[in-house]
């Protein structure tokens, strides 16, 4: 874990070295639909824009956008236009997902102010429509052509396959580590797992996979860090950004075990790998664009999207849920309402905690709420 923390801290310096050596750094903004494998294979360096948790970045954004705009995306605007964040200052190019309006509008704000070279990755929202996957494949092809032009390098199948396999391994290892949390006493804390996941956006992937492998080997046979009866909590809802760790800390300080999370684009999705089927771009598309809603901006939700959450409850033996609601990300509030109803049927308590990266300013009140919730889960016999 120390290696990974160091990797995150040293990322801006690392990017500078890569740029000095001629590499192009491509920032990616969205919910995790942009394949980093493709960017690496085209000879560029991806940098997922996932930093957050700092009120100052949000305030910086208010100079450009409306206050009632997604907290996470305001932070991205603040970092991109504020000019104070070395990591964000390193970018040569921006790829923005056109699949949720916050990412789109954040991209437009940055383009309008800075004329930063930007391209979209078009992602259809009606996932059950027959032409949707084809559109996404075309979007990936356009991105590939853009990246080839940016780097001056032609994408080779060999290179792409190499990175697809590497990322498959990365996801498999993350999945295996996460599955260790299904045990009565998980060997890794929730906060550590979230940080481990976030590190995947900052570290060179070969090195990261090596670290993951050693972490997994170390953990797979170890005794867990939690005692029996510890309330098993899941965090669902809006993305938890890298650096936005107040809530996980509060839960763990209150004696809860975070055993699972579904935080949309806030973590790397690791539940499935790319299945190679001959055409690599199509294989990638099928992995990144599943035929069911993976976030609240894909329609129709039907039962598929709520089921994403209830499945986790079952798989990880979750006994209580905290819904993390960033301000002005209304899609999650609507979804939280529906998921809350499903959880009620299952007898699983859920609490919503709202944040505009201001939890620290109301720390005692939030601590009391979280402690009370964890206690409720514990005393209601819902502990492990």
């Amino acid at each position: 874990m120390e290696t990974l923390s160091k990797c995150i801290a040293e990322r801006p310096g690392e990017l500078k070295k890569l740029k000095d050596a001629g590499a192009k750094v491509v920032g990616t903004l969205g919910l995790g639909y942009i394949p980093e494998e493709l960017i690496y294979a085209c000879g560029a360096v991806p940098q997922r824009l996932i930093k957050g948790g700092e009120r100052q970045a949000v305030d910086e954004a208010h100079a450009y956008c409306h206050t009632a705009f997604s907290t996470f995306h305001k932070a991205q605007i603040g970092y991109l236009l504020g000019g104070k964040e070395p990591l964000y200052n390193s970018l040569d190019y921006l790829v923005v997902e056109a699949g949720d309006w916050f990412s789109e509008l954040a991209g437009m704000h940055v383009y309008a102010e800075k004329r930063m070279p930007t391209t979209w990755l078009g992602i259809p929202g009606n996932v059950d429509f027959s032409g949707a996957l084809q559109y996404f494949i075309r979007s990936l092809e356009k991105l590939r052509a853009t990246l080839e032009e940016l780097t001056g390098k032609k994408l080779s199948d060999e290179k792409l396959k190499e990175y697809i396999l590497l990322y498959n391994e990365m996801r498999s290892l993350l999945r295996s580590i996460s599955h260790l949390r299904k045990t009565p006493s998980p060997p890794i804390s929730g906060l550590d797992f979230i940080k481990l996941n976030h590190a995947s956006f900052y570290c060179e992937p070969h090195a990261y996979v090596d670290v993951l492998r050693s972490i997994y080997n170390e953990m797979k046979d170890t005794v867990g860090v939690y005692t029996a009866g510890t309330p098993r909590i899941a965090i669902f809802g809006c993305p938890i950004a890298e650096g936005d760790y107040v809530l996980p800390r509060l839960i763990e300080d209150a004696g809860g075990a975070i055993v699972a999370e579904e935080l949309c684009g806030g973590i790397r999705h690791f539940e499935s790998n790319t299945v190679l089927n001959g055409n690599l771009m199509e294989s990638l598309a099928a992995r990144y664009y599943p035929p069911y809603p993976r976030d609240p901006w894909k329609y129709p939700w039907g039962e598929d999207l709520p089921a994403l959450y209830t499945r986790i409850i079952e798989d990880y033996n979750v006994k209580g849920v905290i819904w993390y609601q960033l301000m002005y990300m209304e899609a999650f509030a609507y979804l939280g309402h529906i998921v809350g109803k499903r959880l009620k049927k299952l007898g699983i308590p859920m609490m919503t905690l709202q944040s505009e990266y201001d939890l620290e300013g109301r720390m005692e009140a939030n601590r009391t709420r979280v402690e009370t919730f964890v206690e409720i889960v514990r005393t209601s016999g819902k502990g492990a």
Binding site: F69, S70, F102, W297, E330, Y334, K341
Partner: protein, 478 residues
């Protein structure tokens, strides 16, 4: 004569028609939770002060909206199935073929009616919004009141459960999101025609893949409607709908825009919206009365322009109103007039002369209805086109009308509006050197969170700046 009689008089009903319609009106208003006091408010405060009810054509247009408002909750006995779309999307073009395929299907844009009539005439929109907020449309997240009202109508049981709800995502993410809540609430079947917004940042706004996908998605929406409603939509139905669109553009929109170039403008901004919007919305009650009312209005406008009459004195500084005109707060328009500003020519979105004219030019000759819609929407949506394109149509409009400033309304709950409004205002200020403000108003439902006094202070200051800026520019010219 009671308040209901007065309401019908003020909204252009003929005496015989009014007598026959009164019981339907009362029952419909009751269903919409409009009380007698609300009707009194409409006839004494709202309608006479915010619209040109001195004009017969305008009264009749207000009446068309009122009848549609009642119809959506009081279907005819023959209407057994219901299909909804939502504003903002060109409901007429999309719903008319469905109505033609089977006249026993009630088609409607209920959110538009809840706001344009329920809120704007009677001030009751907050009731629908609060119902939505009680059932998951979280108040603190500050979301679109238009879509909250739509969901609230289902929660309150004001609307019948729709057999098909086809909420475009083109403009608005909240529309598709609200549909998910509506489906959860009463099982309404929904589908989302979707335009991916990977729009070119500059240059030609038409990307072939993008337009083709959207057109196919629109077609799929109709296919769903056919399946769910048990109908068959033919080329003929689509052609007839396209003809109404063309007729609306030629007979209504173009002449009104022409008249509005006069100094002084003969209509206020509220009038313009209500006179043109049915072409973008949809009328289950049909378009005949609406075209007739418009014909009367245009006769009146011609005379007014000839006589040099208007809603403000000649020479009053003019400012453009960009974005959806805030019909949720129709009092803003008379307030501007009191402060010596004419903000009567809205631009952009579904009503803007330049946005629509440019779009109509660009799609001229398109015979496939879905392609036509896809291409039109690519040019007139809020976030469906590039900021540079929006800037261009706004600045063209301002030059053409000799505008002295810009009110680029932001609307806190609409992320798209708020974002584009701020970007465009900054560009107009920087590139054209004209004063701009970006006031925060609720464009759909006035529930008091944008108080009149605060708006008055903002507009008062802006009016001073505009007048000084105009005087300075005219001084330089001389």
């Amino acid at each position: 004569m009671d308040v209901y009689d007065e309401l019908m008089q003020l909204t252009g009903f003929e005496p015989g028609e009014a007598k026959e319609y009164k019981s339907t009106l009362k029952a419909g208003l009751q269903k919409w939770l409009v009380t007698e006091d609300d009707v009194r408010f409409a006839i004494t405060e709202r309608l006479p002060k915010c619209w040109s009810t001195n004009l017969e054509g305008m009264r009749k247009i207000l009446g068309c909206w009122l009848k549609e408002f009642i119809r959506v909750v009081m279907p005819t006995p023959e209407e057994t199935k219901v299909c909804h779309v939502l504003y903002p999307q060109p409901g007429m073009l999309y719903l008319d073929p469905i109505k033609r395929a089977d006249p026993s299907i009630q088609v409607g844009v209920p959110d538009c009616l809840a706001t344009l009539v329920g809120s704007a005439y009677f001030g009751v929109g907050w009731k629908y919004v609060e119902a939505a907020e009680r059932e998951g449309a979280a108040i603190e997240q500050i979301t679109c009141s238009l879509n909250k009202a739509r969901y609230g109508l289902h929660v309150l049981g004001i609307l019948p459960r729709a057999d098909a709800s086809l909420a475009f995502h083109t403009f608005c993410e909240d529309a598709a999101l609200a549909d998910q809540l509506i489906h959860e609430w009463d099982g309404t079947r929904t589908w989302t025609p979707y335009r991916v917004r990977d729009i070119p940042f500059a240059g030609d706004p038409f990307d072939a893949d993008n337009i083709n996908y959207f057109a196919a998605s629109l077609k799929e929406g109709h296919r769903k409607a056919e399946e769910w409603l048990g109908i068959k939509i033919t080329d003929e139905h689509r052609k007839e709908a396209m003809e109404i669109l063309g007729r609306g553009f030629i007979e209504i929109m173009s002449p009104i825009w022409g008249h509005m170039k006069a100094d002084p403008a003969p209509l206020n901004a509220n009038d313009v919206i209500y006179a043109t919007l049915p072409i973008a919305s949809a009328l289950d009650t049909g378009y005949d009365d609406f075209f007739k009312a418009n014909a009367i209005l245009q006769e009146e406008l011609m005379q007014m322009v000839e006589k040099g009459e208007g809603v403000v004195p000649k020479g009053t500084p003019r400012v453009a109103w960009r974005g959806v005109h805030p019909w949720g707060c129709p009092w803003l328009i008379p307030m501007c007039h009191e402060l010596g500003l004419s903000a009567d020519s809205p631009e952009a979105f579904l009503f803007g002369e330049f946005a629509i004219s440019n779009a109509m030019d660009a799609v001229g000759g398109e015979e496939d209805m879905y392609m036509l819609m896809a291409r039109l929407l690519a040019l007139i949506s809020v976030v469906g086109t590039s900021v540079d394109f929006v800037y261009q149509s706004t600045s063209d409009h301002m030059k053409e009308y000799g505008m002295d400033g810009l009110i680029s309304s932001t609307y806190r709950p609409c992320r798209a509006f708020a974002s584009h409004s701020l970007m465009v205002a900054r560009m107009i200020e920087q590139k054209m050197g004209l004063p701009c403000i970006t006031p925060d108003v609720d464009i759909y439902i006035d529930r008091g969170d944008f108080p009149k006094e605060r708006m008055k202070t903002i507009l008062e200051t802006f009016a001073d700046v505009v007048k000084k800026s105009k005087a300075k520019r005219e001084g330089v010219k001389q």
